[in-house]
Symmetry: C2
Subunit: 104 residues, 2 copies
DNA sequence: CATTCACATAAGTGCATGCTTATATTTAAT
DNA sequence: ATTAAATATAAGCATGCACTTATGTGAATG
């Protein structure tokens, strides 16, 4: 779970799609594949990369495995972004919210 | 200047180092190379990737070319991070500590 | 207990990517 | 004008990476 793992994991558009899907709530690997035109092994490999990076957690549930967003990874990105705070544009709402939360 | 360009650009540790150096202020390509053990063409190529991604701006100054952080790219990352705001809060405390440590 | 289902792992393949050396380009200095 | 300095581009190469097919593992169901 390093900065490098995270950025490499997110460098792939398919993995970002998977991550985005999971932002909607926990889901198993088969459900994730629906409407994604991706093979089962490919999905499994992508999930492994995202998990190793600290962006996802997994939890076995019988013969299914549920995946969910792991805030640890997001915190690391936020930390990285925080280093460049001096350059954050004023107009960015999301950042303003982040900034506000961090200042408390 | 797409989300994909940005994440791919940041997936390389050398490029992240270059970007971090530039966070300290504008600098030309030769100055950036100092203490980095990287060839001139490699640096030029990295700068090109970062610029295409929208993470850097360039400005010719005589026979030097100064590079500086472009907030546009950071805004895009912030926008991406913003989509997962629902998962931020629990970790904001740790993030605050992280940022505090980095300020020293 | 045998089969089926959900998922993981192994091994191989083609393309992307970061490097190299060589050369071009642009501006400054002599 | 010539030369030198700063940077960019070209072409080739080696490694990484996302995919494939095939097979393994672990759990439910009949």
């Amino acid at each position: 779970m390093t900065e490098n793992d995270i950025f490499k994991a997110l460098a792939d558009p398919t993995r970002r799609s998977i991550f985005e899907k999971l932002a909607g709530g926990r889901m198993n690997a088969s459900a994730l594949r629906e409407g994604m035109e991706i093979s089962q092994p490919a999905m499994s490999q992508h999930l492994s990369v995202l998990r190793t990076a600290g962006l996802l957690r997994k939890e076995r549930k019988g013969r299914f495995v549920n995946y969910e967003v792991d805030p640890e990874g997001l915190a690391l990105i936020a930390g990285w972004l925080g280093k460049y705070r001096a350059y954050w544009p004023e107009r960015i709402g999301a950042l303003k919210i982040l900034l506000k939360d961090m200042d408390q």
